[in-house]
Symmetry: C2
Subunit: 208 residues, 2 copies
Amino acid sequence: MARSQSTKRPTRIQREKTREILEAALDVFSERGFRGSTIDMIATRAGLSKPNILYYFDSKEAIHKALLDELLKTWLAPLYALDEAGEPIEEICGYVAQKLKMTQKFPRESKLFANEILQGAPHVLPELQGELRDLVTLKAGVVSGWIKAGKIADIDPMHLFFSIWATTQHYADFDIQVRAVMRDVNDPFASAGPFLDNMYRKLLNPAS
Amino acid sequence: MARSQSTKRPTRIQREKTREILEAALDVFSERGFRGSTIDMIATRAGLSKPNILYYFDSKEAIHKALLDELLKTWLAPLYALDEAGEPIEEICGYVAQKLKMTQKFPRESKLFANEILQGAPHVLPELQGELRDLVTLKAGVVSGWIKAGKIADIDPMHLFFSIWATTQHYADFDIQVRAVMRDVNDPFASAGPFLDNMYRKLLNPAS
DNA sequence: GTCTATATCGAGATAGAC
DNA sequence: GTCTATCTCGATATAGAC
């Protein structure tokens, strides 16, 4: 039988090992980037041998691609959830809070994604130009509707999303710098939450 | 004579070639990261041969370090310029504008720095924990003074700086994503400027 | 399915001619 | 100072025993 990649019905053990490899690979790739990582590092962290890794995945690139595909599915979920029928400011501030929570809970995923984009998105450019663009265009329309209805201040919806992504993911992607500056604060996320909530409430307040 | 690195008086030609190599290296490193770049790529872009590069620099790492050292000097200049005696809101919004302008003018430097931090700052961690931390602590004190004097709203100064860095550098570091989303906008920076200026004026307004 | 051993290749760095 | 040719090493991927 060929590689498990082409197997129709993976056994429970196969699924578990695949999961363990992806888990180890996420550690390594997020810390060192794709080219800075070696299969040996992944193998060591997964407690397997190098050829054994290549029994489950066709190549180093295949592992990387699998991680990115999985990531994109969950990464956009909070934005999909932005609800036109909800209370505008609570919807957007709720989105900010959820994005920050995801960043705190999944810093490795955030770094993996940042690395990919920084290198020019060689693996996910089509998804950015397709699914992401469509989703952002759709939700920017929702925000524009709120603005026209006078429910929030008049701001550029796209830049609103960019600023939310930038400010939240910063705490994972640049954590070394954040920690270097806030040396004696052990949880930067704790104070980042209220800061960002306050910032976006002021930005969106229709009265100002 | 040994490597030019140890030469006391580099000739004009030596300085020019060194500059050309650094210029080419900045291109390559910012696009592909340190490990994704090869000396051959740098050589080709500089119009030189591989061994010739290694005549001017001891190693690939030495080129990278030279770029980072040079970068740090100019990167912090705008923050140093934040003036306690100035008008608070204009000082901070001026800093935002300058940071955005620097990001627009030096996107390669921004990406080089982002790559370095994302990988855990292997080369500049001491500078982050030293010079950067000291500078930010100092300027956070200035901002705190403005808050106590009632000149700006009560916000966390450190998170203010983080948000400024994140929102401005985002347009260089994640430019592929920004361009994918804003497909038919040819200059995202043009609209980002007013958006950020408005955002920080609202955030800092002491009346709210 | 999992290992040891190995083929192969790319890239950093050096030797030595010019 | 600059080149061609080469050494060397590390890493991906494969062969083949168990």
